[in-house]
Symmetry: C2
Subunit: 202 residues, 2 copies
């Protein structure tokens, strides 16, 4: 989509221009085709550069996505960081980490842009769904209890999305302004149960 990057003066494009051209191509490709169907190789082709260069500049496909969408942090790194200490109290650590993101408007703005797009059009919903399933839920499921781990991960995801909506998008009182550690103590155990507790207690 972006074509070969070309300096204004006709000179060979510098690394910053190439980087920007790759990110433009990545944004266009993700918006058009979702997450799963896009590869580092296809973005390189769209940008008219070598795939090795894309890898060198932007790392993995997820890192390319994170850079293209200007996300403040890689979601898979959040999950890996909270899982690094094991599954014990992982619910609380996850809530503490995402609250740090929801409560910082500047950092949350690009996440909000993704949510806005997903809520308003089906293609962007597919992109967000595929990205979350591939890069976030799979890692959570790997740490969840063996009884329906994928369902557990998606249940935890639903509570995290709901917390984002209530805290940072719609602003539901009093949850929107409750001190973070109280929210951690309230929501952490719910997510912990989804991931490792007895699931169907009814």
């Amino acid at each position: 989509m972006a074509g070969k990057p070309q300096g204004r003066t006709g000179r060979r494009p510098g690394p910053n221009q190439t980087r920007a051209a790759i990110l433009d191509a990545a944004r266009a490709a993700f918006a058009e085709r979702g997450y799963d169907a896009v590869s580092v190789r296809s973005v390189a082709r769209d940008a008219g550069v070598d795939a090795a260069l894309v890898h060198r500049f932007h790392g993995t496909k997820e890192e390319l996505f994170v850079a293209a969408m200007a996300l403040p942090v890689s979601p898979s790194r959040i999950v890996e960081a909270v899982l690094a200490e094991g599954v014990d109290r992982v619910g609380e650590r996850l809530v503490r980490t995402v609250l740090g993101l929801f409560d910082a408007p500047d950092r949350f703005a690009p996440v909000l842009a993704l949510i806005r797009a997903a809520v308003s059009n089906e293609r962007a919903a597919t992109l967000l769904r595929e990205f979350v399933a591939r890069e976030v839920l799979g890692r959570l499921a790997a740490a969840a209890s063996p009884d329906r781990p994928e369902l557990r991960a998606s249940l935890a995801g639903s509570q995290v999305i709901g917390l984002a909506m209530a805290r940072a998008v719609v602003g539901v009182p009093p949850l929107a302004t409750t001190d973070p550690e109280t929210v951690v103590a309230c929501v952490g155990p719910a997510i912990q149960r989804y991931l490792t507790g007895p699931l169907q207690t009814a």
Copy 2:
């Protein structure tokens, strides 16, 4: 905003035209001023009719809002219905009822329109926030345990919003396609704990 309803031929407007004029005025007023600042009386004034007529046609302010937004059901009635049997297992009954709404695209469409508007602009977010706080959370809080009932209600609300997003908006797998009674058994106890359980177990 809508001015006095007037028949095309200059005749006195019929009840259907008056009804429509009231709903137009209500939509404009809610969009402009949020939920709390609008009254049945102010909508009547905007529509150029008597407040008693608005009450007769559309009932309470909430019923007027529900009609203006074409919502399939009054949210406060959902809450009242699930609370009619007491607080025991209210979490499961609430999840079962909202799933019936999320899983019916025709009925969910007007709810999705409200969510879309709230996610994309601050004024619509205020409207949704004030409506939910006034008509839904207050009723839930009244049934919640006395330790922080408003926080409990908003926590339950966050999980319901997250379920709507995961199930009907973004479509997070496998939760989006899990059979409803399994979802009830998984999410019901989380909402039950928010409303009536030990809240801060950390």
